[in-house]
């Protein structure tokens, strides 16, 4: 067994103690979101978007967005508290684990949470009758990619701060704009050019586009490679940063 797997196992044992409290919200959140935006707002968007009903159009974007938010939730407060309050990482660093095992094992657990959350969304979406293509399960692969692209750099950020007020800043200036301007609720073409760059630069929009193509059974073409490339770039840069920040904290 590789050492990183033992770290994943640790996080899973921990999760076994707390999963009940998060299970309900994992199911209720997509339900409320789909009722509010899909059914509620959708009633006003009579012509649909790009030729498909509004609810069908936003579900894949919401899955990608949910993946990003789940990743953000797992890579912020838990990471900060494992450094600052619970000192879990320091206990791990004293064991025969390398920094890469500690970061990798925790990231693997975050992806597990992302997958659970995205899958719950997909199941609820299916109940709303929004699944039309056999490619729909690919949205989960995209969700994992979005999850890693979001979790890794967020983890690096959380490892660089000592107070959770900095997490609020990240929420306001990165997560919120990304959620609003990444083509989840409306096409980015509706945005002024400057705001469109929020979509182009941050990872979420790339995931939303891929997720939508999968859900609607469309061929993403060459642009698909650009999206995958952008997401992978965030993953690699995020991993590199997270590893460097963790090393700085754990090996001094």
């Amino acid at each position: 067994m590789t050492p990183a797997l033992s770290v994943l196992e640790y996080h899973l044992v921990n999760y076994r103690r707390t999963w009940r409290s998060s299970a309900l919200s994992t199911l209720v959140m997509p339900l409320l979101t789909l009722l509010g935006f899909g059914v509620g707002v959708g009633a006003y968007v009579r012509g649909g978007v790009d030729g498909v009903p509004y609810i069908d159009w936003i579900v894949p974007g919401l899955i990608a967005s949910t993946a990003m938010q789940a990743a953000f939730g797992e890579a912020t407060w838990p990471v900060l508290s494992y450094f600052e309050w619970l000192k879990v990482y320091f206990a791990q660093a004293a064991a025969p684990l390398r920094v890469a095992d500690i970061v990798g094992g925790h990231l693997a657990f975050m992806l597990f949470r992302v997958l659970l959350t995205a899958a719950a969304f997909l199941v609820v979406a299916a109940a709303f009758g929004t699944l039309h293509s056999w490619w729909a399960p690919m949205t989960l692969v995209v969700a994992l990619l979005v999850g890693l692209a979001s979790a890794a750099p967020t983890m690096a950020y959380a490892a660089s701060i000592t107070s959770d007020s900095y997490l609020i800043i990240l929420m306001r200036f990165a997560v919120l704009p990304m959620s609003l301007f990444s083509g989840v609720f409306f096409p980015v073409e509706s945005l002024p050019l400057l705001l469109r760059w929020v979509a182009y630069v941050f990872p979420l929009w790339h995931g939303v586009e891929l997720s939508r193509d999968a859900m609607l059974g469309l061929d993403p073409g060459a642009l698909g490679l650009v999206h995958v490339g952008a997401l992978l770039a965030w993953c690699v840069a995020g991993w590199w940063l997270a590893h460097a920040r963790f090393r700085r904290r754990l090996v001094i």
């Binding site: 770290v7 921990n14 000192k87 879990v88 320091f90 206990a91 064991a95 025969p96 001094i252």
Partner: protein
Amino acid sequence: MGDSLIHARGLVKRFGDFTAVDGIDVDVRRGEAFGFLGPNGAGKSSTMRMIGCVSPPTGGVLEILGMDPRRDGPKIRGKLGVCPQLDNLDIELTVRENLTTYARFFGIPRKEARRRADELLEFVQLSERADSKVEPLSGGMKRRLTIARAMVNQPEMVLLDEPTTGLDPQARHLVWERLFRLKQQGVTLVLTTHYMDEAEQLCDRLVVMDGGRIVAEGSPRALIEQYSTREVVELRFNTEDQSAYAEKLAGIGERLEVLPDRILLYVADGDDATDEVNRRSLGPASVLVRRSSLEDVFLHLTGRTLVD
């Protein structure tokens, strides 16, 4: 160097401009209980972190279990047990899960991890609490659990950073007793402390650190013999200024120290010294004769100035 588990020569640790450890030589042999003593900021914890292979040395030679921490960090850590100054247990997990999940980091199979956890909980007298969460445990119980966790990989050497700081007397004695048992089983113990009674109880050999350097080295007994006298006479006089009596006591014993509230006479024989004090009719309000302790050595070497 034979069976040296720790071998350090000119070991240095710098943080920017600050030199925490300033060129120390240390050898710890298998089976011995070795102590690092010193006031706060003496460099004890920095030294322990280097030995624990979580802090690369800035300079000098360091070999742990015959290996190089810079290259073999994970391999060395696999054979060490570490009990940090502040407990970093998982408060959400049960007492037993704390041991089993930690054992997995060492690649120990699940079944074996469980067996060892039960055995170790027995050893630190926490078996009845195996399935309760860690959060409500007392400080002494948490400390014992941390020690048990440090033993889960059957380490060749256990590093204990201030193992009983913050514990009440009963809890301290229980921890000492357990550590003494480990020592009897042949486990090499390396600890830092600023409790002199702890050092005298547990350590075969120790070094006193001050300002990042080693200022004395030896067994507790040898250090007392070298840096103090056999006995100490503590005299209190009914006066605002104890130093007024210092002159009148001149010539008694080897050394005299004036404190704000009393005068210490470092002497070979306390009763002889007391007789001499009485002969000079100085009329002290109280006289206490006691054996020299490691605390006298410590204060002599590192001074009485408060370090926060």
